[in-house]
């Protein structure tokens, strides 16, 4: 089966992108250099095509309650115009996907899922919500363009001709979203991202995506915006300590394992004040109360060779964990990794080793995130 093409496919070809198969799509891995693109996002701005992600709309009078029951978060408590990072878990508490949910209206929510899990999430939402709400798959119809970096605010402002909309968009806090017309194209503009920088994610109709892409690229030329691919997206999120489904999160992990127990709202109640019976509640309650078998930590590499996904973490030659993600950090200048380790070796400062292809490389446990923006 051949991969799906993004609505921005022609743009990527024209820009000389290296395209790779990703979650059933052909997406840009890089345009020029991973390092140059990474640095651009940290110093000016990068432009990402994220059209492969899944967008699922939940609407109707029962939408909020349906999402409270389907997801671990308290979505009915989310204000209109705000967004929330949350997860959808299985009956056993294992994570099916991590999500961002945008509340567009009282009875209108947009669920954004990882490309690799979009189909599964859609199926689960149908199964869990069809009885009380309307579930609509808008993934193919929706393109997603992200502008990320310290210069993102100015660039996005410059493509919002309406002064009131401009003020609303750039004035909104992190994890909010608002409707606006961007370069003549109706959009939902969210102040969200996966890079650890300030930035905006523009949701537009797929067929209008090229206009928005070109307008933002042109608007950002002066400050040095560059198109940025999946390679630097991964190194940026790793520096920012953000989990990647498939690495830090999978069906065998609970939100608690990844240090994200805060997304599980065991305290959520329905309109009558009764606790919500959400999927996975029982096992997650048990997990919240019990001692963890393993914890997700950050590892700072003290040598030159980077730990990679799957490598063993050792102390005194004994395996105490496994690396979930690892790479050289372009911004910090040393290798970084996230790993699940046993609680006894999880304290910051603990010196451990990682088996890097047969050689023990020294590492040290450090708090996450590795990088925090100053602006």
């Amino acid at each position: 089966m051949s991969e799906r093409q993004s609505p921005l496919h022609a743009e990527h070809l024209a820009l000389g992108a290296t395209l790779v198969p990703y979650a059933g799509w052909l997406m840009p891995l890089r345009y020029t250099s991973d390092l140059a693109e990474h640095h651009a996002v940290r110093t000016t701005a990068g432009l990402f095509d994220l059209s492969h992600m899944g967008e699922i709309r939940i609407t109707g009078p029962g939408a909020a309650a349906a999402l409270d029951a389907a997801l671990v978060g308290w979505l009915s408590a989310l204000a209109v115009g705000r967004a929330r990072y949350t997860m959808i878990c299985a009956q056993d508490g294992g994570v099916i996907d991590d999500l961002v949910v945008y509340r567009v209206g009282d009875q209108d929510f947009l669920v954004v899922a990882n490309a690799a899990n979009a189909e599964v999430v859609l199926a689960e939402l149908h199964a869990r919500c069809d009885a009380t709400a309307t579930v609509t798959d808008e993934s193919v119809a929706t393109a997603l363009i992200a502008v990320q970096g310290p210069a993102a605010r100015g660039i996005v402002a410059s493509v919002l001709p309406d002064a009131a909309e401009r003020a609303a968009v750039v004035g909104q806090p992190y994890y909010a979203a608002t409707a606006a017309v961007v370069a003549g194209v109706p959009a939902m503009v969210a102040r969200t991202g996966y890079t650890g920088e300030d930035g905006f994610e523009l949701f537009v109709a797929a067929e209008r995506a090229p206009e928005v892409w070109r307008a933002v690229l042109a608007a950002g030329q002066e400050v040095g915006i560059v198109p940025t691919g999946l390679a630097c997206r991964d190194s940026l999120r790793l520096e920012a300590g953000m989990p990647l489904y498939g690495n830090e999160l999978d069906r065998t992990t609970t939100p608690y394992d990844a240090g994200l127990g805060r997304v599980v709202r065991l305290d959520k109640t329905d309109a009558d004040g009764s606790p919500v019976e959400f999927v996975g509640r029982g096992p997650l309650t048990g997990r919240a109360d019990s001692e963890p078998a393993r914890l997700l930590v950050g590892l700072e590499g003290l040598g030159r060779r980077a730990a990679r996904h799957g490598y063993a973490v050792l102390r005194d030659g004994v395996t105490v964990g496994q690396v979930t993600s690892g790479a050289p950090s372009p911004t910090l200048g040393h290798p970084i990794a996230m790993a699940y380790v046993t609680p006894e070796v999880s304290a910051a400062g603990t010196e451990l080793e990682v088996d890097v292809r047969g050689r023990a490389e020294p590492v040290r446990v450090v708090p996450l995130p590795f990088y925090r923006r100053t602006s």
Partner: protein, 123 residues
């Protein structure tokens, strides 16, 4: 398409080797491009005996690690310390300043002509 100098020979693993002795060994522009930004080189030290076709080192990029295979049987007589200290030179000039090692040649491995390598890397 990436350049393929006429005066070199190539391996199926995207290494190049010069025709003199000691021979110079590196990776091709196609390999460097596929790897992306190279961040670390693990090269066999001077004096190492190499066997053609065997793994003799590693080239690590931001996203992956590739093995370096010895294109010839022989002994390492020089290592490009400039490249070791700044692996980006391999991306910048893979056939020139980005050379990796020099080897006295006892026997050749399976080598391809520029035309054969061009066909292989195009396909």
């Amino acid at each position: 398409m990436s350049q393929i100098p006429e005066d070199l020979r190539y391996t199926a693993e995207h290494e190049w080797v010069s025709s003199d002795d000691p021979a110079t060994v590196g990776i091709t522009a196609a390999a460097a491009e596929a790897l992306g930004d190279i961040v670390f080189l693990e090269l066999p030290p001077v004096g190492t005996a190499l066997t053609a076709g065997a793994v003799c080192g590693e080239i690590e990029s931001t996203k992956s690690v590739s093995e370096l295979y010895a294109p010839v049987t022989g002994t390492v007589v020089a290592v490009n310390t400039e490249a070791v200290n700044d692996p980006s030179v391999v991306n910048a000039d893979p056939f020139g300043r980005g050379w990796l090692i020099k080897v006295t040649v006892q026997a050749l491995g399976e080598l391809l002509s520029p035309e054969e390598y061009a066909r292989l890397s195009a396909g």
